[in-house]
Amino acid sequence: MSAPAAFAARWSRLVVAVPYLWLLLFFLTPFAIVLRMAMSDADTALPPYAPHFEGFATLREFISKLDFENFRLLADDALYWDSYLQSLRLAGQTTLIALAIGYPLAYAMAAAPRHWRPVLLVLVVLPFWTSFLIRVYAWIGILRPEGLLDMVLGGLGLTSEPLRLLNTEAAVLIGMVYSYLPFMVLPLYATLEKLDRSLLEAAADLGATPVRAFLTVTLPLSLPGILAGAALVFIPSVGEFVIPDLLGGPDTVMIGKVLWNEFFSNRDWPLASTVAIVLLIVLVLPLALLQRARLA
């Protein structure tokens, strides 16, 4: 091999190797540790925790110690079931509400005059760039007793006493819809903007009412956008921690919060790891949906 060719090969290897090694070290290895931790017992895995690895004899012993004890614990305890179910339900409701608000918005953006569209797009993305914490905090100011919402509604004479929305499930839903709405609008806008409008004219020419044209032409054609948006809202909502913690009440136990509490309050690292693994398993289906929507 000539010198420049050898150099080219080295460069090529370097480009791949550096990020590859980084990810093996800081993504895959930690993940393997979580998996191992999930199958360990609480007493042997308490911090300070050091991995024992001395040859294959210990490896066999190590493997024999792994079990699904924590998974059984999770399955037997109603608390965990309830929190997974509640997370899935709240994430599902968030997705539906975000779709109900996001679809008309994306539709109107796609129908707006061409020179407005880039501006509208930036306007949708901009709030997403401000800190997550700030956006949740803004809602605390609005929803808390005698907050802005109470002030406005009371001032209009619509309510006579505080609504007490903060620390309820409704507040969590509002916060999640608000935080993830751009994730719904962007893919919807992308599919609706590409939609061939002459199809709608054809439908109208053939006698379809606008509603019927929407239901039989626009809606099916925007399905990939709906699926992608739904997955992008649903996935982060399920594992959300900050919103249920700050806006939710004592009865909102979403799984991200359970994991956080197992880890920081109960200091049960193996159980926290098990909760994490099960959360990932729960997310496999929506992730597969997202992948399909991206390919479509």
């Binding site: 150099f7 460069w11 800081f26 925790y49 306007l123 800190s131 700030i134 803004a138």
Partner: protein, 262 residues
Amino acid sequence: MKRLGPGLILALVVGFAFLYLPILALVAYSFNASRLVTVWGGFSTHWYGALLSNQPLLDAAWLSLRLAFVSATLATGLGALAALALARHGRFRGRLLFSGMVLAPLVMPEVITGLSLLLLFVAVDVERGFWTVTIAHATFSLGFACIVVQARLAGFDRSLEEAARDLGATPLVTFWTVTLPLIWPAVAAAWMLAFTLSLDDLVIASFTTGPGATTLPMRLYSAIRLGVSPEINAACTLMIGAVALAVIAASLLLKRGQAVGG
């Protein structure tokens, strides 16, 4: 294009009001002279002055800025290399695993990313603080940086690189003189994205930090848990202003890049 009907205008107004009113309210109340959030006591910049004497908050902000700077630089370097690897180096062994690892942190719940990295740091027994959070942030924003750069690499004319190679430039020279100048706007945009992601993160930092390294979101989070105060509003307003400036700068950069590079 037809003009928008009243229904669509309503959809736009309702949608954008929902997105912006909460933030506007937050900004407005940062200028409230009264400590009570329910009472408007007149216009005042008092709370901004109070911020300047809040040393723990300032320390946290300075730490977060340094941390975001270092982690964004790392993430952009690694992400750009990853993008080059995926876009230019065709099929290499373990490509599927590689692209999976690049993209997985994008959809991974933050609690899991944080937990897994902490367990690694504990296992190798390093002191937790600035550098562990930096590594954690670089790892999770690497994927975002990679996507931004990859989109740019896909969009530009490869024959320019081939021409440089034909004229005898080594891959490294080709990269420095042809590829990098062309993808530069995307690299800058990727850096800003990684910077904001780091600045915004609460969950991963909470897991991977140690004593003495409290980031701004962690400080804000504990303040928010105690209740609403106009001082937090002022801090948030400053952050919103900084982010808005950065976003405008980034979109201008990307736009200019598109105009030049096609």
